[in-house]
């Protein structure tokens, strides 16, 4: 069983990926590493969930992929945010804000 702390909150992976890609296009490992680093090691994303999610998001038109050379001269699939993805990110963010605010209110009541 995976480390409980490393599991993402359900349904947030796509939002985190969108946010991560909002700054600069990245390849799969780059995204995983970035999420891990920024979250201070709390969230670990394994490729078994990340790559299918990327494939789904590409299908949905939220991100765009193309093969580019990496720093160490290999080929890797780089993902970039599309206009539609940017809109989806805004939407998810708003939703998330509402939900966490609500949860906080309940917890602090």
């Amino acid at each position: 069983m995976a480390d409980k702390a490393g599991d993402l909150v359900q349904g947030t992976l796509e939002m985190l990926v969108l946010k991560t890609l909002a700054l600069v296009p990245m390849h799969g490992y780059g995204i995983a590493l970035r999420i891990e680093q920024v979250s201070g090691g709390v969230f670990r994303v394994n490729p078994g969930s990340l790559l299918p999610a990327l494939s789904r998001m590409e299908r949905a038109g939220h991100i765009r992929a193309d093969w580019q050379a990496t720093e160490n001269n290999r080929r890797a699939k780089y993902y970039a945010l599309t206009a539609r993805g940017r809109k989806a990110l805004e939407e998810e963010r708003r939703q998330w804000g509402r939900q966490t605010a609500a949860i906080n209110r309940i917890l602090e009541a």
């Binding site: 490729p47 969930s49 790559l51 789904r56 299908r59 038109g61 160490n72 890797a76």
Partner: protein
């Protein structure tokens, strides 16, 4: 947009499966490499970094699988896999598959064929704009020219009523059309020269096409101006078929002149293919003519005057915002007011009450009006029920076969479950197999149905070459067949699939155990037995219903028609089309009868208004001895007009007095012969001869003296009760009633052999006399009982088919049981059980199933028979003989099917049986 991209990229992944997989693999490898590189950058050794990265990623293959199944295409792919596997399974057992596909093709084909007819006759909407907006004034079932006054719903009106309400505001549009099609003679060009052809025409109002929203292919349709002035607009719109077939698709047809019943009409438009007006009849109309040209087209006095007969139908296009109930109230009010005005000043209180009870129901008119609909509604519903049952029985059979097959595949399923396959996956696999079978069978059935439907339509339209009925399936039929296939596949697949997935029998992967409970157990045997009982029950229902229909057909056939239908030739002609005036007719009749009566092979010749049993409808009230009719008795009679030797020729026996003879000339005392029914009904003292009749029909003038009484004969159908009937001497009639339309010849031998000589003889008298559709009376009678015959024979065929299927079902289940119990039976026999006991052991089970099936089938069959009693003639729905015969036939045949496996059980050799397995 998003969906499109999704589909496109899914399709790309499916078609370039290897590239897609390679791409995913490369990405996974890249992921690992990047991870390793990053870890080494943090100071790990290469070996450590690789190990850590592998632990992080896990199985590259499983990641690849996950990415692949993220899209919809993976589901499609696994379905395709299921289908491929199913096809392999089907090909592997060709015997089973052939039986399954053929029985499904038969079952689904029969269902599709009957449904195509139902669709054609009952469901299809008219090929016009927004047919659901059309409202019919009444159900349009009445036709002809009638004078009517009884309270109740009305569907036939005088033209004057339409004229009064046509400029109203309650509807978006109103149109009127004649309630009957008119057969007209058509000559190309002006004048009466050249050969005449016959065509079916409709009289319609100028608003007809615009209310229907039907656009022409060429030229124009009618406008309101075309029926503004009576008799002034000789214009015609023709059907696409008429243009193609009769006018050789003449590109300059617009403006061409057609002489229709002697009047020159100008063609102004050609309709598009597929348009057939609003009437779905045996023969579709070829010509539409302005209703105001009625006197010219029908060659009879005007029906357009204010006190004219009831003879038109009215159809409306509803107006948005006006509820149908309000429009109906308005129409009814208008009609009542019209009738009151028409009655004039001296209207009786009684008549007022009658008019207050008259109403016009506004009914959906989108499906048009049909004279075939009412006569085929019940037979088609019955046949649909029967074919549905046949399909159910076939399904039960296939379910049983599949259950047996599934039992044989138990090890395969167990192995698959053990290897981690889910139960859902196995059920899906099994259902895919049955669905593939069902759809292959359905595709074959669709082809089969097309041919069968073509034949059935041919029988329904009784040889009319141009009909709106079509055998080719439309979208609704295709959807129906698709639905039936789907339902069938699920129906016969669900039980075996459920069983094979549910089966948890622990030891199945081990050697088979010796008892029959080892595989399936008691519960496992219940399902096939239930299916067999259902089959027996349903077969009995079909046998009973079919038996009743065959019995009614027998009754119909054995009816005494009251005339001699053998050696009788019917020759329709039409002196009116040939241009004869009433005053010239008697001389013509004398010439025709003199000439034909002396032809070799002809025993006797006559001419009359209609032949016996032709579906005519000339009737009228009568005044006996000049007395005003007693309103209680309201004496009425059917009428025919006959020349000398009529009764001798058609073989209606003379009971008393004399028949119409040569002495009944135009100047002699008018003579009428009545049938026994009329004599008994209106002259109960038995003194009819010598009394006189006056006929209320204004066309028949004078006082007619009864000179003879003849036997009753059927007028319309063999099923009818005797009706009062009077035969007027044709040479003593005047005007339009003097035209006779049918020559009848009693021949020495086969009547069809003299056809050519009759044609030549008539051409010798006058080449303009049209002779169309010569037939023998025997053929006519067959045609009239054609529908009941068709239904009975189809019902019989379906019942036998279902019986055969039920037999196969029982035989299959029992044989399979015997095979399963081989070792048990072997042990019993080794321990000394006599053969008779073994026989009984197996037979007992079949007889039990049969008994239950019969016990359920008898009440079910009685209920079904009660439901179809409208289609029966002369036989009670609970006819005990038919019931007993059905049960007997079923029992005998099922016992035969049960006997074979039982006998096989007694032949089991104990030694072989114990070594078995």
């Amino acid at each position: 947009m998003g969906i499109l991209r999704n589909v496109a990229s899914g399709l790309r992944a499916l078609t370039h499966r290897n590239e897609r997989n390679a791409e995913i693999e490369e990405e996974v490898r890249g992921f690992v490499a990047a991870s390793v590189a990053e870890k080494m950058g943090r100071g790990m050794s290469r070996a450590d970094a690789e190990r850590a990265a592998r632990a992080e990623v896990g199985s590259a293959e499983s990641v690849r699988q996950k990415v692949w199944s993220a899209g919809w295409e993976s589901l499609a792919d696994s379905l395709a896999q299921d289908v491929r596997f199913a096809v392999r399974q089907i090909v592997r057992s060709p015997g089973f598959s052939t039986v399954a596909i053929l029985s499904l093709a038969l079952g689904i084909g029969a269902n599709t064929a009957i449904f195509t007819l139902i669709n054609d006759v009952l469901l299809k909407q008219l090929p016009v704009r927004d047919p659901q907006q059309l409202l019919s004034f009444g159900d349009g079932s009445s036709s002809g020219e009638v004078e009517n006054s009884s309270p109740g719903p009305y569907d036939i009106f005088p033209y004057e009523f339409f004229r009064r309400i046509q400029n109203q505001n309650e509807f978006a549009g109103l149109c009127a059309f004649g309630s009957f099609q008119a057969l007209v003679s058509v000559r190309s060009g002006q004048g009466a020269a050249g050969p005449a052809t016959q065509a079916v025409s409709d009289l319609v109002s100028g608003t007809f096409f615009s209310v229907l929203g039907a656009e022409p292919l060429l030229g124009r349709t009618f406008r309101p101006e075309d029926t503004a002035v009576d008799g002034k607009n000789p214009v015609a719109v023709i059907s696409h078929r008429y243009w193609q077939q009769e006018l050789s698709a003449d590109p300059n047809v617009i403006g061409r002149t057609l002489t229709i019943n002697g009047t020159a009409f100008t063609v102004v438009g050609v309709m598009r293919p597929g348009f057939y007006g609003v009437e779905l009849n045996q023969a579709a109309s070829g010509l539409w003519l302005p209703i105001t040209m009625q006197p010219q087209v029908l060659m009879q006095p005007t029906l357009l005057n204010p006190d004219g007969m009831f003879w038109i139908h009215i159809m409306a296009r509803s107006k948005p915002g006006v509820p149908t109930a309000a429009a109906q109230a308005w129409a009814t009010e208008q009609f009542r007011r019209f009738l009151v005005d028409r009655a004039g000043g001296q209207i009786s209180a009684n008549r007022r009450r009658q008019i207050a009870g008259i109403f016009i129901p506004l009914l959906p008119g989108g499906a048009g009006i049909s004279n075939v609909r009412s006569s085929f509604e019940t037979p088609l519903a019955v046949l649909m029920g029967m074919v549905a049952i046949v399909l159910l029985i076939a399904c039960a059979n296939l379910a049983n076969l599949l259950l047996a097959k599934a039992a044989a595949r138990e090890r395969e399923f167990q192995a698959r479950l053990a290897l981690g396959s889910s139960r859902v996956r196995i059920v899906r696999q099994m259902l895919t197999e049955t669905l593939v079978l069902a759809f292959v069978g359905g595709a074959l059935g669709l082809g089969l149905a097309f041919w069968v439907t073509r034949g059935l339509i041919h029988l329904i339209v009784q040889g009319a070459t141009n009909t709106a009925l079509a055998a080719s399936p439309d979208l609704r039929v295709l959807a129906f067949t698709f639905g039936v296939c789907l339902l069938t596949g699920i129906l016969f697949g669900i039980a075996p699939a459920w069983r094979s997935a549910r089966n948890q029998a622990i030891g199945t992967l081990n050697a088979q155990s010796r008892t029959m409970t080892g595989a399936g157990g008691r519960g496992g045997r219940l399902l096939p037995r239930t299916l067999v009982v259902a089959q027996v029950t349903l077969s009995l229902v079909l046998l009973m219903v079919a038996g009743l229909f065959l019995e009614s057909l027998n009754m119909l056939r054995s009816q005494d028609l009251g005339f001699n239908s053998s050696n009788l030739l019917i020759v329709p002609t039409n002196p009116k089309f040939a241009g004869y005036q009433p005053a010239q007719l008697n001389a013509l009749y004398d010439r025709i009868l003199d000439r034909l009566g002396t032809l070799p092979g002809v025993r006797s010749a006559t001419i009359s208004g209609v032949p016996p049993m032709s579906g005519g409808s000339w009737n009228s009230p009568i005044y006996i001895d000049g007395r005003a009719p007693d309103p209680q008795q309201n004496p009425q009679t059917l009428l025919n007009r006959v020349a000398p030797r009529y009764f001798e020729t058609v073989g209606i026996p003379l009971l008393r007095g004399r028949t119409i003879g040569a002495e009944d000339t135009a100047s002699a005392q008018k003579a009428v012969v009545v049938n026994q029914k009329l004599a008994e009904q209106y002259f109960p003292k038995g003194d009819a001869i010598g009394h006189t009749l006056k006929i209320a029909d204004p066309g028949v003038v004078g006082t007619w003296q009864i000179v003879g009484i003849v036997g009753n004969s059927k007028y319309n159908t063999p099923a009818e009760k005797p009706q009062a009937m009077a035969y007027l001497a044709i040479e003593q009639l005047t005007g339009d009633d003097q035209y006779a339309y049918v020559i009848q010849l009693q021949t020495v031998g086969d009547p069809s052999k003299v056809t050519d000589e009759v044609r030549n003889a008539l051409a010798g008298i006058d080449p303009n006399l049209p002779v169309v559709g010569v037939s023998t009376m025997a053929d006519q009678v067959d045609l009239i009982i054609g529908v009941p015959m068709l239904v009975s024979q189809l019902a019989g065929f379906f019942a036998l088919l279902s019986l055969a299927l039920a037999c196969v079902g029982l035989y299959g289940v029992m044989s399979y049981n015997v095979v399963r119990r081989t070792s048990e039976i072997g042990i019993r026999m080794a321990l000394g059980a006599p053969r008779g006991r073994v026989l009984w052991l197996v037979l007992r089970e079949s007889l039990l199933l049969l008994g239950i099936g019969v016990a359920l089938g008898v009440p079910a069959g009685l209920a079904a028979s009660h439901g179809v009693r409208a289609g029966l003639f002369g036989v009670s729905p609970a006819d005990p003989i038919t019931l007993a015969l059905a049960v007997l036939l079923l029992t005998a045949v099922i016992c035969g099917a049960a006997w074979l496996p039982a006998r096989r059980a007694t032949r089991i050799d104990p030694i072989v049986a114990l070594r078995y397995e």
